[in-house]
Symmetry: C3
Subunit: 236 residues, 3 copies
């Protein structure tokens, strides 16, 4: 398995790397001037840092598992327009913690989860799809997407954006789910070439909707270029 690497570059703050050019770091005591510029809550002297060139959804879903498992909070989630020339985002996620051991653990959990959360990312030369599902959303998902805590959550992304429109429509028609948010190149993304829909509801319905969106999205993406392959192993 392609788990996080911790090659040990000799820096205390380095935690590891993972798929998507993801790097995980911690700072035990953030400098006061930086602390202020980052608008961190004063109670958090330690932070965990996840940054990636490729992907935002996989990292946010992974961070959601991390906040469930550790004594940390998601402080900020920022989406760069990136994916190394692709159609989507990169990300910067900051965890706040009172103890550096908690921040480190959150970063470790996130790096480890990424192999799974890249499972339903499909890409070819023309674009990508991303599907995510959880039976119980936690604080990272709430922070990033405004989804209700503790409920099932599904994320459906299609790029180029036109494909995402049809995936969104298909998802909502498939089962009785509620639309949490709908994002497009000019609204709710960092000008990425994606349409993104976020859904909540009964866990069976959410999962069914995500799977239906995946099916139609793959067929459409494959009309533009060679068959899109999953980045790791599908989990939904």
């Amino acid at each position: 398995a392609k788990g996080p690497k911790a090659a040990g570059c000799g820096i205390t703050e380095f935690v590891g790397t993972a798929i998507g050019d993801t790097i995980g770091l911690v700072i035990a005591n953030v400098d006061a001037a930086i602390h202020e510029k980052m608008n961190l809550d004063k109670k958090y002297r330690s932070i965990g840092i996840i940054g990636a060139r490729t992907g935002a959804g996989p990292q946010i879903m992974a961070a959601d598992e991390a906040v469930k498992a550790t004594n940390t909070e998601i402080v900020t989630i920022e989406l760069a327009r990136d994916t190394k020339g692709g159609a989507g985002h990169g990300c910067l996620i900051i965890f706040g913690a009172e103890e550096v051991s908690d921040a480190r653990r959150a970063v470790e959990v996130t790096l480890k989860e990424l192999n799974r959360t890249f499972g339903d990312v499909y890409a070819n030369d023309a674009g990508h799809l991303e599907l995510q599902y959880t039976a119980r959303a936690s604080y990272a998902i709430e922070k990033a997407f405004g989804a209700p805590l503790g409920k099932a959550f599904g994320l459906i992304v299609g790029a180029p954006a036109a494909i995402g429109v049809l995936m969104a429509d298909t998802a909502v028609k498939t089962a009785n789910v509620e639309v949490v948010a709908y994002a497009s190149p000019a609204k709710g993304t960092s000008f990425s070439n994606e349409v993104i829909i976020m859904i909540t509801g009964d866990s069976g319905a959410v999962r069914q909707s995500v799977i239906a969106a995946r099916e139609i999205g793959l067929k459409l993406l494959n009309t533009l270029a060679a068959p899109a392959q999953p980045v790791t192993v599908p989990y939904i």
Copy 2:
């Protein structure tokens, strides 16, 4: 000719693909929840969808011919920061229609026109130019650029943006045209590396200005990399 492909992926909503990783789709009855999130006018139950990784101008010009030829309206035009690592935009264009046959026809016309409207897009490793001209602007051009309906319209794009500045100045000095708008990386683009000028006026003057801008733009772009080639066949 590289017309739209309709390989038939087995999905009713699929219309075809074209140059620029452009895909064309229709939805006969947009789901109510998606309809609301997309801010569609209630009278349009059907939509046509054009999305592309590369290009916004060519698709908008092509859509302009489509609205002239069909009973549809341009509902939204959104520009992603894309071109697959290049300096420009991708796009998402939504047509609204009361009947799905109209939406489908608009998408078909757009896909077919793209071969022409990519004719004066010139690219090399350092950047690109785009020139567009029509003797009579319709609703897509009005929606996207704020140009007056029924009048001649010219679009002049240079990337990197510095080249666009000189193309703009040259265009306006060449003939008696009116500047509709001027866009640059931080104003009026999705942070693309382009300067874009949109002009209107007498059709002869607009055409002359566009041609003069093309000439100087090509010379400048070719100082940075190998001679830029047209993507298809120049039409202006």
Copy 3:
């Protein structure tokens, strides 16, 4: 040395090209309609233009030397989301001048300085670092970053952004410097995948902070891909 090229494309307004797909141009008498759309001060009939696909910091630092050396003013600095699929910016910089000879000279100085100011840009397949330092900031640095005139200035950039966070924290902990600004993917950048910190203070302290940030940044960037190399020759 890779100085500016002036291959002579036969256009009066062409000044030269340089590293980063940078092009330098002048316009002796900007057309009135363009002048207005660009929001130029009326006293400047001439402009110098610097545009690049790759880099904003190197061009701004170079332009800062140009305004010190010439009778020009920095009119606008705009940052495209670019670097040709990389994690950073491209740029468009406009100098205003009363005489075209001044505008031309400013562009020439900028193009010539770029070889130096790309010296502490380090890149590998996963991202890049940029370090800049001057003992005395002038008007381009003030305009772009809000740094105090005449004081030492340091610019520290890390991409992916996570690396920039640790570089920023390290810089501020290394010596007694003041944070001018802190930018991240969603605040103060054009959605680039960078964290950028700008510092001022005693020249020795600023230089020391920049060097410490460079050291830690290189170690981190090299955990993600092959060792990052300087684009030209380090100068700090």
